[in-house]
């Protein structure tokens, strides 16, 4: 267990809403190893962002963490994230775990130059040597393929969307955090910019040492970056495994449906397997397996009993009663 960076156990997050309680994260368990990239894949509204926000405890005020544990490990010490006080939490954020938000086009303070935002981030974490911070910023901005001098002296509105996204990634790496969470870092961008961001991320993965949690609804993007993939359905992880296993031998019908909607290496597109049925209602999720109303393999058992996440391969887990019949 010594290479563990993050351990999440049985995490439940709810939002009280007018119609009832939205169960956005339902009993999620996973671990992130040092230096690995874990992709969290799922359709819109499946609870990915909520999960990410819970890890840095930035959930909206109304949200409640009902149950669970989040443990963070570094240099042989461990921290219980849900037990941190305000000051410990402030230092944990960005210094240990940086989260770059979904649709972060407006993530930078419009009235401060980029340089000032690098400097105040560093100062908040006790780095007062402005020159050292500037040097590090220049280095990181080069790594994300920006012109450091120009960018540092710009205001956010003077940069394009893709440039801002890169600035945020560079800013995320400023304090050498052990874990970085990127929530849909490419979703708002055009195809070419998406590609270049992915390239930048690949290069950073090779050059620097950090663990990456990559949140996306796009399995093909995940395939380019991830070491392991977890598919999320209705607030729960329904399958997790190495990127190879997930693509070659998915054991959950939902993962299978997702992989079928991805272009294969040979170039021929499978017909986009739009999964029949509508996304689940998180206020009153279906009894038994949450996926059963849309699952071609569903049986009576599926409607009554919720399948546990169980080991289905050497390093692969799935939550399906009939996993043996998926890709037999």
């Amino acid at each position: 267990m010594s290479d563990l960076a993050l351990l999440v156990e049985d995490l439940w997050v709810e939002y009280p809403a007018r119609r009832g309680v939205v169960k956005a994260v339902r009993g999620v368990t996973f671990e992130v190893h040092r230096g690995e990239t874990l992709a969290l894949i799922g359709e819109s509204g499946s609870g990915k962002t909520t999960l990410g926000l819970a890890l840095v405890r930035l959930l909206p005020k109304a949200a409640r963490i009902k149950r669970g544990r989040i443990m963070y490990y570094r240099n042989g010490t461990s921290q219980d994230i849900l037990a941190l006080n305000a000051e410990e939490l402030r230092r944990f954020r960005w210094q240990e775990c940086a989260m770059v938000f979904q649709g972060a086009q407006n993530a930078l303070n419009p009235v401060l130059r980029i340089e000032a935002q690098f400097l105040d981030t560093a100062r908040a974490h006790g780095l007062s040597d402005a020159n050292a911070v500037r040097e590090r910023a220049v280095e990181l901005l080069k790594m994300v393929q920006l012109d450091p001098q120009r960018v540092l002296h710009s205001f956010p509105h003077e940069l394009s969307g893709g440039m801002r996204q890169r600035v945020l990634i560079a800013l995320g790496l400023l304090l050498q955090p052990q874990v970085i969470i990127l929530d849909e870092p490419t979703t708002a961008l055009d195809i070419l910019t998406q590609r270049s961001i992915i390239e930048v991320l690949r290069r950073l993965r090779a050059q620097l040492d950090f663990s990456l949690i990559f949140i996306s609804h796009d399995l093909s993007l995940a395939a380019e970056l991830a070491d392991r993939v977890a598919t999320v359905y209705a607030g729960a992880i329904v399958e997790i495994g190495s990127v190879y296993d997930i693509f070659e031998r998915p054991r959950h019908p939902y993962t299978l449906a997702l992989t079928r909607s991805v272009p294969t290496v040979t170039g021929d597109m499978h017909p986009l397997a739009s999964i029949p049925g509508s996304p689940p209602d998180l206020i009153a999720p279906p009894l038994g397996c949450a996926f059963h109303p849309r699952c071609p393999l569903a049986t009576d058992q599926c409607k009554r009993e919720e399948p546990p996440l169980e080991r289905v391969g050497k390093e692969q887990m799935a939550a399906c009663w009939h996993w043996r019949e998926v890709n037999p």
């Binding site: 938000f101 972060a104 303070n109 920006l146 120009r150």
Partner: protein, 362 residues
């Protein structure tokens, strides 16, 4: 940590180096100053022609008055008017206008027609500073206080302190300023005998020597206290409510959440992230407020017998002293325009998105 890749992504299309004129016309400050000057010019022109062309214009009324009061001949009265208004009435209108402009540029606004021999410029020079002082001070106080209290309300949303301040703010901002002034006058003065209103009249106490002394400064404040208090009271509610809603909106902005994610300290987030952005829209309202308070000063100075330009205007109106009225109107307008300009330039300093050619392009 070797950097293997050359930066490529941000090479902008090479811009053509703009010449001096283009640089000037693109410059926000330059354009704003020009705009202000143009506005002043228009006001000056309109004032002139209104007064000269109205069927019962002041000059004509004055001439008729002189004739009926003193039995002057028309020509005598007309010469008198020329001297007082600093206009040569015999010249064609166009030439009159140019002379009027020339006189203005030299600071010649004509003479008072009630107290003979008194230059309008001297009246302005004597009384305008007091109004600028009281109006400026109260704007500053109410703006700064309003921003602070508005943020407090937003941060303590839906707590008793927010309810109390919100009620106060909506109450004071809905009562007209002269009403508040009169209530204060009656309640604090004769009724409660808390303050001696009579001793607060004027702009300084008799016998106090102007100069950089504490005594003088305190005396000035003492006399300006009531007008300032009324201006602050009537404007602060608006600032508080505006700042509250702006802060609430800003707190929802991504960059505030991201600032928290970056582990910034709460104080830093409150000032540089929330406060600075939330107060931006208020600076545009500052310009409007300046005109409002200035206009209000006419009534308030009358009520408190504060020796400012507003009171002089009332006096001039009562006495139908047209040259003085015209001069004061002009100087109030110019003050408001200049104050607007200052507010705008301040705003452009604070919001980088407005700066240098970025703003006003659409």
């Amino acid at each position: 940590m070797a950097v293997q890749t050359a930066p490529i992504a941000v090479s902008l299309p090479e811009e053509v180096r703009p010449n001096l004129w283009q640089r000037l016309t693109r410059n926000y400050v330059f354009r704003r100053v020009i705009k202000a000057l143009a506005t002043i010019f228009v006001v000056v022109t309109v004032t002139f022609f209104l007064i000269r062309l109205m069927p019962s214009n002041p000059v004509e009324i004055f001439i008729q008055e002189q004739i009926s009061l003193y039995g002057m001949s028309y020509q005598e009265a007309r010469d008198q008017a020329s001297a007082l208004f600093a206009i040569d009435l015999d010249a064609p209108l166009g030439q009159q206008y140019l002379e009027y402009l020339g006189n203005l540029l030299q600071g010649d606004l004509g003479q008072s027609y009630r107290s003979k021999g008194t230059q309008v410029v001297d009246i302005i020079r004597q009384f305008l500073p007091w109004t600028l002082f009281s109006v400026g001070t109260s704007l500053l106080i109410s703006f700064v206080l309003g921003i602070g209290l508005g943020m407090l309300m937003a941060y303590r949303r839906e707590t008793p302190i927010d309810y109390a301040l919100s009620t106060f703010a909506s109450l004071v901002s809905s009562v007209p300023n002269y009403l508040i002034a009169i209530i204060l006058l009656v309640v604090l003065g004769p009724q409660l005998k808390i303050i001696n209103i009579a001793s607060m009249r004027g702009s300084i106490s008799p016998g106090v020597q102007p100069g950089f002394t504490l005594h003088f400064f305190l005396d000035v404040l003492y006399h300006a206290a009531m007008p300032i208090f009324v201006y602050v009271l009537t404007t602060i509610g608006g600032w508080m409510l505006a700042m509250k809603s702006s802060t609430i909106a800003t707190l929802e902005e991504d960059y505030v959440t991201v600032a928290r994610a970056r582990g910034l300290k709460d104080g830093r987030i409150m000032t540089s992230y929330v406060g600075r952005n939330a107060s931006l829209p208020l600076f545009t309202q500052l310009a409007i407020s300046i005109g409002f308070v200035f206009g209000g000063s006419v009534l308030i100075e009358g009520i408190f017998v504060y020796q400012g330009i507003g009171q002089q205007l009332i006096k001039a109106i009562n006495q139908r002293d047209y040259p003085v009225m015209q001069g004061i109107f002009l100087i109030i307008t110019v003050s408001v325009i200049v104050a607007n300009l200052v507010a705008d330039l301040l705003y452009s300093r604070l919001d980088p998105r407005i700066r240098l050619g970025q703003g006003e392009t659409k």
